[in-house]
């Protein structure tokens, strides 16, 4: 959560500086890179935080009306799907990062891999939080979760 706040503060400040330096007729071109870095890392970290807090968008809250083993099974199933996706994000995201060293961001010439790295990072955090939810859910029941 704190990192989400840091990210949004970061790109708010950098866009503000971008406007000010442009109005002063000496724009700092690298600010746009800083902005996108904060923005993209903010999305990935926020996604992980939202997973931990069950804040994501849902099509239906079918499990909330259930209880007992049926609910346990469905809640476990949905988290296993999330866990599967998270592992894909880590592994294929890592392969993508390796590929990202071949491309550079302008004007700083930083490898694009620096941005792509957000994907496996997000996957790792989502996996971690999902395992935490599974363990807590199996121990205390999913009904007791804080939403």
């Amino acid at each position: 959560m704190i990192l989400c706040g840091v990210a949004i503060t970061g790109f708010t400040v950098s866009v503000t500086c971008d406007i000010v330096t442009r109005l002063l007729r000496s724009p700092w071109l690298w600010l746009q890179e800083v902005t996108m870095t904060f923005f993209i890392y903010g999305v990935f970290i926020g996604t992980a935080a939202a997973t931990r807090r069950n804040d994501h968008l849902y099509l239906a809250a079918v499990t909330e009306s259930m209880s007992g083993r049926k609910r346990l099974a469905l809640e476990t199933f949905s988290r296993l799907v999330v866990l599967g996706v998270a592992f894909c994000l880590v592994w294929f995201g890592y392969l993508n990062v390796l590929d990202g060293f071949k491309s550079l961001r302008m004007p700083s010439m930083t490898p694009l891999a620096s941005l792509y790295a957000g994907i496996p990072l997000c996957g790792a955090l989502v996996a971690l939080f999902t395992i935490e939810q599974l363990v807590n859910g199996w121990k205390n029941g999913f009904e007791a979760r804080v939403t």
């Binding site: 708010t12 503000t16 406007i19 903010g42 990935f44 994501h56 079918v62 799907v81 996706v85 392969l95």
Partner: protein, 445 residues
Amino acid sequence: MSYGFLIFLMAFLFLLLGYLGVPVAFAIIASVLVVTAFTPVSLASMMTQLFNGMDIEALLAVPFFLLVGELMTSANVTTRMIALSQALIGHVRGGLAQVVTLFSMFFAGVSGSSAADVAVLSRSIGPDMKREGYDPGFIAALIACAATMANLIPPSIMAVVYGATGNVSIGGLFLAGVVPGLLVGIGLMVYSHFFGPVGIKKKRASFGELSAAARGASLPLVIPVIIMGGILTGWFTPTEAGVAAVVYILLVCIPAINRGYFRRLPHDLAMTGLLYSIPLITIAAASAFGWMLAYLRGPAAVSGWIASVAGNDPVLIMLLLVGLFIIVGDFIDAIPAIIIFMPIILDLTQNASINPVHMGVVIVLTLAFGLITPPYGICLLMASKFTGVRFGRALRASLPIYVVFLGAILFCIYVPEAVLWLPKQFLPQSVGCFKNPSGDGYICP
């Protein structure tokens, strides 16, 4: 496996996982990854598609418009706008119902988020309406319907996403959204007046009370001027206009209205940081879904079918697309729907020579309608939850109000001149007008 089967499998898996309780973004990514495994496309390259979905500068506007709404609500600045709405219209029949609609129109001008609007109204006016004897189902239905205007009256997050992914002028979409937004607002007011509960008759606000309320609300009401003024004069892009509005609230509005709020600012920044990531990861996932759909030639098949039925008739094409989006909007969120179906929209827009801004407004209006239709009417779900009413009861109360939306959609389809009038006046290039080479003014197709 045939492409048609893979498209069916991808859509089926997404809906199945989504309705089994997997978060939308992860349900989309899972369905895309499964289908990708049956194609020659590498799974690692799908990560690039995920990344590309959010690496769009215009999408930066989304967190800023969310932050504006969060700051305004949390710092209690919105109470002044509610007071102004009450002073202006609280005395007419169904006074509080009219206040809900008028306030939503004001709030839509400062925030692009329907969810924020539902939260503010349910907490502030909802309890007063209950005390005055309004039917709880009607309260939830009206709040949900009025909140959809946030997606029409600028700044609209849906318009930002549509413009950013469809390469359509966001400023043009903002301006073109005003007429349908007002149509829906006026429609809701007319409905509340003639068919809604009467409420408690109040006396008309005196000129002194009205001017005091207007003075109180004057600072927040400058925000739409900053946003639209900045965009129209070319000073700001929509993203920068969002930042300018945030800076204005932090440096002018809050110090003048609620200085003590600053203690809560770090919490609200963190909360908004979390909130913006939710639609944006869904946008990224939907973008990968849309890419795979295009790879499997889904858009060509659907647009081919629509073109075979409608030919090049723009009205018929729009009606079919509206039908498609009403069904789609019932099942999935508006933002992924825009991105997934964008290739189809672009194809049909081009083939039938429809103005992209006109098409954008019709699609956004249809998807805004989807926010109040079951089973995935997110505004209606939120409003019924916040006001403590069963969803079915809120749904029954909202059914007659659907006429307002359907009327507005048909009006926008059949009268493009009305929709495009504002962009033509203030941002002619956005709707394809070009400078007259032999004099002043613009030539519009």
